[in-house]
Symmetry: C2
Subunit: 338 residues, 2 copies
DNA sequence: GTTAGCACTCTTTGATGTTGAGTGCTAATC
DNA sequence: GATTAGCACTCAACATCAAAGAGTGCTAAC
């Protein structure tokens, strides 16, 4: 796919103009910047159309880049925006005093990203196949009710109320802690099945009655805490793009049941760009998904990115995603270290 | 505002037909059900238009109910749908094994409600001016990091990570528990200000250094746990109503910054119906907000409802809201009791 | 290889006419 | 006095047509 320099220039110009205006670009407007006649540009454009980089909405309209054209632009032509120090500072300071769990930090990040880009943001909380339970705690709420808190090696914290039919006394709590220490701490959520738990509970004799619900809730909680959860923000921004009008509902539904999105974000390299149909997802065929994985403690464990129109401003958006992703990774890594 | 029986019948028919189809209703279609001629109905309709209950999009169209007309319909004409036992059972069983905090239960309820109504659902977590802190717990995470868990008398549970600059040892934890017992437990969040906390911390001598961040986080946490939070679900459903097309963005923004919505839901009686401009909120002038307060322990502490087009099916939606609200209240009350 | 020129295509806009739904009014009827 | 049939009227919706304008593709000249 070797293009002449001039063709590249034309494709880049058309793409950038189209990103800005959303309107097809004619040959005349490009004369000045390329200092050739419109006829020459027309010839070039016609060839670019033949190889599928440009499209015409109709005969007498200008050209717009095809999804393939956008792909070429992103891979070869795009001039990534250099974030200024003040840009970086503005992002970084958002996380300065963010105490809290990964979930909160990623919510913050998604909100920031959607505001900066005008697209919908999506973030995955850290997922680590080798995540293990770091600690389990029991917080008494009332006689028969306790809050089970689970801390994962990834820094994820989850809690759940558990109601028992009988009193949860100190002896019970001690037993629970012993069991936790023996069977759970240091283990991954999928090291034990519900069946395991039930045989374990059964072996406890008279204590089985009160312990079973606790252990079941704990198992569920461990599973939940090990899964990555999907955070979204700024969906309403997509309403501003008229070319997405008929797609927004499908996109929103897709964001509600995001399993396919998760695999999309987890795919490929650190930076992941899916343009239109590349996502292989019917609901997303008119949007691009750009995401970047963040690393916690040197391992890529999650991802953050945006969903927006195929004509999103990649040159500006990609650097923001990369920097936010890097920042989130750093913030989360610091937490684990401590 | 005394209307003849026939006028009432006509207004009701027009309203119900319009709710179903979204199209203006002409005089002819009502002939059969009222067994009078279309001319008679036209005369009546014309009078209903004069007193502002009906409107004409344009001369040669049928009539649609004005917002005032909808109000009259809801107050005087509507035939509320009687939920069947199986309807009730379907709702109730959603909450059967819902362990958990108010926030989770209300999220469930909002999701259910939006699915049942096709509207956006909105729910407020319990807010009680007299809510007090029931218990505070410290969960160690690492040497210098603890999780502060706060339990409110409303059943609300919140937790937050707190990072300290020095080790949080057992002595520190004991001191913290003593302070909590002396100054916080049994008190409301607004019983103490940040200034109070700082003087308190200052009085602790060498322990002030490690205790200050803990107490500050605790104060923030208490405030957050005392505020009601707003839960929304099913916003995307609003995209299906073409009459809202130009309003959805504003509505979504309104749902993101819901302070005005909160006061709308807290207003008035148990059941609250705001039709169109009654909300006195520009962004909501083309939608209706219907909500019902739920009671925990005999006190109305929160609210759940929907936002949908003015032509929502009140007769069906209102009973659902009331029943879900009642159910949520019961579920939450049971939890407090235990 | 580049470009001026020109015919051609197709959208957009506006004007015009037609159709059909639904009204309001009047006069006759019950 | 209330009801209704009849009819003229209004207006959106739709189709047709013409004109304007944007942009193209092609050809021939440079």
């Amino acid at each position: 796919m070797e293009l002449s320099e001039r063709k590249k220039k034309i494709l880049a110009s058309v793409t950038e103009r189209y990103i800005m205006t959303g309107e097809p670009v004619g040959s005349k407007v490009l004369c000045d910047s390329l200092s050739v006649s419109s006829a020459t540009i027309r010839n070039e454009m016609s060839e670019l159309s033949e190889i599928g980089f440009l499209e015409q909405p109709h005969t007498s309209a200008g050209r717009i880049p095809s999804q393939k054209g956008f792909r070429f632009y992103v891979n070869n032509l795009m001039n990534a925006y250099e974030m200024s120090d003040s840009d970086r500072f503005a992002v970084k300071s958002h996380f300065d005093n963010s105490d809290g769990e990964p979930h909160e930090i990623l919510s913050e990040a998604a909100k920031l990203l959607s505001e900066l880009t005008g697209c919908a943001a999506i973030a995955l909380t850290p997922y680590d196949r080798h995540a293990v339970i770091k600690r389990i705690e029991l917080v008494p709420v009332s006689m028969k009710t306790v809050l089970i808190v689970i801390l994962m090696s990834t820094g994820v914290i989850k809690s759940r109320i558990c109601r028992c039919d009988t009193e949860v006394d100190i002896k019970t709590a001690e037993l629970f802690y012993n069991i936790a220490a023996a069977y759970f701490n240091g283990h991954a959520a999928d090291d034990f099945t519900v069946a395991d738990i039930q045989t374990l509970a059964a072996s406890l004799g008279e204590k089985a009655f009160v312990m079973t619900p606790l252990l079941i809730v704990l198992t569920e909680l461990a599973r939940e805490a090990s899964e990555c959860s999907v955070i979204t923000d700024g969906q309403s921004g997509l309403l501003h793009y008229k070319e997405l009008e008929s797609d927004v509902y499908g996109i929103y539904e897709c964001l509600k049941h995001p399993s396919s999105l998760v695999s999309l974000l987890n795919k490929g390299n650190e930076l992941n760009i899916s343009i239109g149909k590349e996502s292989m997802n019917r609901a997303l065929e008119n949007v691009s998904v750009v995401s970047s994985k963040y690393a916690v403690g040197g391992k890529f464990v999650g991802s953050i990115g945006v969903i927006g129109p195929v004509r999103m401003d990649y040159a500006r958006i990609i650097p923001y995603i990369m920097y936010i992703s890097e920042t989130v990774g750093n913030v989360l890594s610091e937490m684990i270290d401590e």
